[in-house]
Symmetry: C2
Subunit: 319 residues, 2 copies
């Protein structure tokens, strides 16, 4: 039985990765800064939970060796808003932490490292890729990160590709689109428009957004992202190494409002006429064909299925 | 009198930066891993030499405060070939070291940080920018570093721009073209075609290069690069923040051979017919107009002047 360690494995996406691994019968080691079972309650008895600081290379080495870890899915990160508030700290977690994982992996002969990267490696789309045409971008779209988080993720990809080239370390990076799932609002990911809309609707509270809701983005349910990470962890020949993980389709906040009104007929969701916040945002539709062909990835949640599952998770958690 | 600290200030380019600062009457603090006066003999009595590890943030803070440093030119780096051999070590010096400088600078209220970046942030040129047309590239040319060194330099730029945006830290980065000057062969920079050709010719030894010599590159004499760093350190409004430092002109190894035969009529320099090594290389002509306009930069050494000064420096050093 393969042993996989998930860094950040108690976080929003990390916990879903851990759950997917357990569901597939994989021996799962969950590594996190603090023990927080909120999102991994249902698998807590089936996994090994280890707390530690990813900046401590010696500790990482010991954990890997003691637990006979064979593959690593590296999902631990300081999130974007936090990294922009505390760039030095964000840099350490996202860059030093990632390079520590790579170095520990090559020193211990780890079979593969999967790295959770992000759409933040890109700047705003332009031309035909921007609103309203929103043509999907491929992984070759120019990278111009303008945040600490985005620059850190891009550097993590570059270092991984160099570890592959220099040492033969098997490295794969997934650039996630705009993921949504239960947990993002509960202290972990700061303000997030999509979760706020969903949770307000579920609780019978109104949502009023000052801008228009017509900008399309690639909103992917986190369970699809998590399954992609597990596919990437075991794929036979991930030769392109860098993959977009999204839906390949454009979804707007107005689309989300329509789905929420279907689920909760009394939901009050109002948009204003101000410029869409996404005028300044990083709204892309991802071309996901590379992941489909090489990883066997196929999103299983359309928007309505994602929303309904979100609410089921929220209800189960007592949220 | 402004106090400027030069990290890597005893290295090949760093020593020329230190000399230029001293020549301008600036109080100069030279920071290096080891004390090595080889390239700073003539200014050793005019500067403060401090040894230390750039990875030690607390030490950096103490040096800055004790010496009342006001501006920093950050030229310390693990060079490309070395970083590719030892990626973890190269990463620490180039990335952790640079972020330490930025963090120390913002904590101590440093007035400006100038960062020595590199053409290594780019991959090989394509289309009209490639051989034989070799149209100059601007600073907006797509960045696709494929080495640890190049990725580290690019990340340093991104972090600097974020420190500017977040904290207002005054940050400028210079992307140097293919610099050449005395010192690169003496154990510091590994094999370097240009210095080898020059030093062989000066010593009456032949140079035989297996490939053609017709690929053009932007070869800039390191004293021009060093003066650019000092200009960038004091420029009134370096609003573009990122600048190409080269000559703006294409120079081939055949051009260099012609100059060397003029300086040393008996020089033997032979080229073969194999594919030019630069087919795989990063040979660019830099558009330098941004540096000319915003920094007042103007290269003062054409190829012959650079070669003659190189030989004068070599002779003085007893090389």
């Amino acid at each position: 039985m393969t042993a996989v360690m998930v860094t950040g494995g108690m976080g929003v996406i990390g916990s879903l990765i851990s759950r997917e691994l357990v569901a597939q019968g994989t021996r799962t080691i969950v590594f996190g800064r603090h023990e927080d079972r909120t999102l991994i309650k249902r698998i807590a008895d089936s996994i090994q939970i280890i707390t530690g600081n990813i900046l401590d290379l010696q500790h990482l080495l010991r954990i890997i060796q003691t637990n006979k870890v064979q593959r690593i899915i590296h999902a631990a990160a300081c999130l974007s808003q936090q990294a922009q508030k505390e760039p030095f700290n964000g840099f350490q977690i996202n860059v030093d932490g990632t390079v520590n994982v790579l170095e520990a992996a090559r020193l211990t002969g780890i079979e593969r490292v999967v790295f959770a990267s992000s759409k933040a490696v890109y700047q705003r789309p332009t031309g035909k890729h921007a609103h309203p045409a929103c043509e999907p971008i491929t992984e070759d779209y120019p990278k111009e990160p303008d945040t600490v988080y985005g620059a850190s993720k891009l550097f993590g990809e570059y270092m991984g590709l160099n570890y592959l080239k220099i040492y033969g370390l098997d490295f794969v990076a997934l650039r996630f689109g705009s993921t949504y799932s239960y947990g993002k609002l509960t202290g972990r990911h700061g303000f997030a428009g999509i979760p706020a809309m969903i949770e307000n609707a579920a609780r019978g509270e109104p949502t009023r957004i000052p801008h228009r809701g017509d900008r399309k983005d690639d909103m992917v349910y986190s369970k699809d992202a998590a399954r992609a990470a597990v596919l990437a962890c075991f794929a036979d020949n991930p030769r392109s190494r860098i993959y977009h993980i999204g839906t390949g389709k454009g979804t707007s906040l107005s689309d989300l409002a329509a789905v929420l009104k279907k689920c909760f007929p009394k939901a009050v969701i109002e948009f204003g006429q101000g410029p869409d916040a996404s005028d300044r945002g990083r709204h892309f539709i991802f071309d996901i064909r590379r992941a489909q062909v090489e990883l066997g990835y196929k999103p299983q949640y359309d928007l309505e299925a994602g929303v309904r599952d979100y609410i089921a998770e929220m209800t189960e958690a007592g949220g």
